[in-house]
């Protein structure tokens, strides 16, 4: 029996009837539970109605289609064949009916839209919208509610705020805790804690207390001044609290993005850093190469110069011997007085006072002697000039071996250094190779940006928390001053009591709200942990699951580090499912789970594990899974074929405008 305000617990979907809704022209899908598991499998290709089935349920219950593809957004909700085949001016109805069952009671949710078709337009004209819920009351009479009242009933089935924890896209499961879910989880807890009534009460009470203070203020300017100050401070406090909430949301969003980017970059090197390193190594290598080349040139020059000297060494050695011989024979340096001979020839007088006749044998003899002396002086001069250079050459040659060894070693060292540098450059090159460098750089840049946002928000939040504490103290002090002033000004005891009571009640409500939220959070944390450790196949790998003060969920590795960003997609999905189950249990909204593409991002090896998890969950809760044919792999088939209560395949008709349901089981 359905009673007003009561949460509808343990609900399951029995059937969905779709009339003229998008590709579903006239389709009924039964979800009979023929086995002990309440598990239902629907397999369909892309664009063959899977996601629109999810949309149909959302549309029926909430009147919107949150998962609509861009293509579908261009099309009318009315089935295309129904639209094309309808006569001019005909009324055609689109309807989705969700028949549910809870503890023996049947509740039917039905949303419909009436359209009138005009042939000159592709868009039918909407004439009427209707949303009705039919149920059996405590007297076993059929009753129905419509519109706003019906919408209120839906809130007891699955509240709009938390529907994404019941009907969702499987790919979303993987990113569940990666994006900004802290705020969403906080909203869900708020909704589940049912503290909204208390909050409304708190707002009202605040208004009443302020009115009372205003009343008291009329009796004294001091009281009015204090009241004004308190109101101003409370306004500031609200603004600060609002900013803290907003910044917490931004911080969590940044954290989600950081986790997501870290996950993407987990096995990818820091390209920018590597490129910088590579550029520096290239620069160093270029410089070293230049020095090495200079050294090689230096060595070549050395070989050239020593080549001449060494190849001519035998000649130099021989010349040296010749010179030594001439010195020994006193042929060099020369002792002839050529001036004396020249005088005899020019004066025709010998030193012995005899005349040397021109053309005489004596003159010819002296002239020959003079010529011979000239030649030998040339030779002697040349030989004398050779002595120094020969000694120098010998000295040079004596340094050849050591100079050659030194420069060869230097070149070798540079070669080794260049080899090392080239190996490093190659290693970086192969690390970078195959990656989309620009994309990775972009990710690193985004990561840095989000880290800055995250850190900046933490700083801002800390300073705002200080400001809040300061305001709290100021408000308390001002309230005490106000009390004293009220006493002093002899304000009526009744008014004082009313203000005091209002203030106290206001504080108590705030504490109760926080206590309830904390209790829900603790309960969900505990249930999530239980489900996760009950279901996980690697029981020794993880140590803890907890939800922090900002409602962000954390998974701790057994070695003590946070590992949510680095676990496999299947493990993350399991955590998300555990959280969903916990949320269902704690909230009392024990409704079905419907997941579109549940294992799209899970590897084949892990699908079997996740298949087993689905099997286990379906023992306590209705589970409707919408698979792509490629997702429904052998691993999934092995685990789900035997336990699924129903299996269906959705197919498009040839004109691709209608869906037919093939019952496989």
């Amino acid at each position: 029996m359905l009673r007003s305000g009561e949460v509808i617990s343990k609900m399951r979907i029995e059937r969905i009837d779709l009339q003229n809704y998008r590709q579903f022209r006239n389709v009924s899908i039964n979800f009979d539970s023929s086995t002990k598991e309440d598990l239902h499998v629907i397999v369909a290709d892309n664009a063959t109605g899977k996601t629109n089935l999810l949309n149909a349920i959302n549309w029926c219950l909430y009147g919107d289609e949150p998962h609509l593809s861009k293509d579908s957004q261009q099309l009318p909700r009315l089935n295309l064949n129904s639209l094309l085949q309808a006569d001019e001016g005909t009324k055609v109805t689109v309807s989705v009916e969700v028949l549910t069952e809870t503890e023996g009671n049947r509740i039917t949710f039905k949303r419909s839209e009436d359209y009138v078709v005009h042939k000159d337009s592709n868009q039918p004209v909407l004439r009427d919208i209707d949303f009705t819920i039919t149920y059996i009351d405590e007297n076993k009479n059929a009753k129905w509610v419509t519109d706003e009242e019906a919408a209120a009933y839906v809130e007891r089935f699955v509240p709009r705020d938390i529907r994404e924890f019941f009907f969702f896209d499987g790919e979303r499961l993987d990113t569940y805790f990666k994006s900004a879910t802290g705020q969403q989880i906080s909203n869900a807890m708020f909704r589940i804690s049912q503290v909204d009534t208390l909050n409304r009460m708190s707002d009202r009470l605040e208004g009443v207390v302020n009115d009372l203070k205003r009343e008291a203020g009329k009796r004294s300017p001091q009281i009015e001044q204090l009241r004004d100050n308190i109101e101003g401070k409370e306004k500031n406090r609200k603004e600060v609290v609002k900013q803290i909430t907003e910044l917490n949301g931004q911080k969590e969003e940044a954290r989600g993005k950081i986790d997501e980017l870290n996950e993407r970059l987990r096995s990818i090197p820091d390209i920018e850093q590597l490129q910088t390193e590579q550029a520096q190594l290239n620069e160093t290598s270029k410089k070293k190469e230049q020095i090495r080349n200079d050294k090689i040139t230096e060595k070549q020059n050395m070989l050239f110069e020593f080549g001449i000297l060494l190849k001519l060494y035998p000649s130099l050695d021989k010349s040296s011997l010749v010179i030594q011989d001439k010195v020994a024979n006193k042929e060099i340096p020369q002792t002839y007085d050529t001036q004396l001979l020249d005088n005899i020839i020019s004066t025709h007088h010998c030193i012995c006072a005899r005349r040397v006749e021109e053309g005489s044998d004596a003159e010819r003899h002296i002239q020959k002697l003079r010529t011979d002396i000239t030649s030998s002086s040339i030779i002697a001069r040349e030989l004398l000039q050779m002595i120094g250079p020969i000694e120098q050459v010998k000295k040079k040659i004596s340094t050849f071996k050591s100079s050659l060894e030194l420069i060869t070693r230097e070149i070798q060292l540079y070669e080794e250094e260049l080899d090392g540098l080239n190996q490093k450059i190659q290693s970086i090159h192969s690390q970078i190779g195959g990656y989309n460098v620009e994309q990775i750089k972009q990710w690193y840049s985004e990561l840095k940006n989000y880290q800055n946002i995250h850190d900046f928000n933490i700083e801002r939040i800390t300073s705002l928390k200080f400001a809040r504490e300061k305001l709290d103290k100021e408000i308390t002090d001002l309230n005490q001053d106000l009390n004293k002033a009220l006493e002093k000004e002899a304000v009526s005891q009744k008014l004082r009591h009313q203000i005091n009571f209002g203030n106290k009640a206001y504080g108590v409500i705030g504490e109760v709200v926080q206590t309830m939220m904390d209790r829900v959070r603790n309960d969900i944390e505990k249930e999530t942990k239980n489900s996760f450790f009950n279901l996980i196949w690697k029981k020794e790998t993880f140590k803890d699951v907890y939800i922090d003060d900002n409602y962000a969920l954390h998974l701790m590795h057994s070695l003590g580090y946070e590992c949510l960003g680095s676990v496999s997609a299947s493990e993350r999905q399991l955590l998300a499912l555990s959280f969903v189950i916990a949320l269902h249990n704690v909230s009392g909204f024990d409704s079905p789970i419907l997941v579109d593409t549940p294992v799209a991002r899970v590897s084949n090896e892990q699908r079997e594990n996740l298949g087993k998890i689905f099997h286990q969950i379906s023992g306590n809760k209705q589970l409707i899974l919408l698979f792509l044919p490629t997702e429904y792999s052998v691993e999934i088939s092995n685990t789900l074929d035997t336990c699924a209560s129903s299996m269906r395949k959705l197919r498009l008709t040839e004109d691709e405008r209608e869906i037919q349901v093939e019952v496989l089981r």
Binding site: T297, Q300, N301, L303, F304, F306, G307, I308, L309, L310, K311, L312, Y313, P314, S315, L316, D317, K318, S319, V322, I323, K326, S375, S376, I378, I379, E382, L383, Q385, M386, G388, P389, I390, Q392, V393, K394, I397, S398, F400, K401, L404
Partner: protein
């Protein structure tokens, strides 16, 4: 003193090739140095070649005292006595003939040795020459 040293006109392509191959940095040496190396190689191999058509190669005033000593030493080695030094023309001629043969021997070696290996072999030869002829006397 004679004003220049000559090579054979036919030697020119050999010098050009040696520059192209650039063994032991040949192309960055001046013509006097290239000539002296060619002369040294000719003498080492005891091969001379008479010049057919003479072509001036470098001016003799570029010769330093050490260069002059080397050229004189070749002449003394060839002639067997220092008297040859009185005949500068012959001293020059002996140097030119050894250089003409030497540059051909150099090119012939370059052609025979695998590309890029010449410097290494040249270095090895020099060490052997040093060990064989000079080391005992120098140490």
């Amino acid at each position: 003193m004679l004003d220049r040293f000559y090579i054979d006109k036919e030697d020119r392509p050999y010098y050009r090739k040696a520059e192209e191959e650039n063994v032991i940095n040949f192309k960055n040496r001046n013509q006097k140095e290239q000539f002296l190396l060619a002369m040294a190689i000719g003498l080492e191999n005891e091969q001379k070649r008479k010049l057919k058509t003479r072509e001036g190669f470098f001016f003799s005033n570029y010769l330093g005292l050490e260069d002059k000593t080397l050229i004189n030493a070749v002449a003394i080695h060839e002639y067997g006595s220092a008297d040859i030094l009185a005949n500068e023309k012959e001293v020059f001629s002996i140097a030119e003939q050894y250089a003409s043969a030497g540059i051909r021997i150099l090119i012939d070696s370059i052609d025979k040795i695998q590309f890029g290996k010449f410097d290494k072999i040249f270095e090895k030869d020099l060490v052997e020459v040093l060990n064989r002829t000079a080391s005992n006397e120098l140490e």
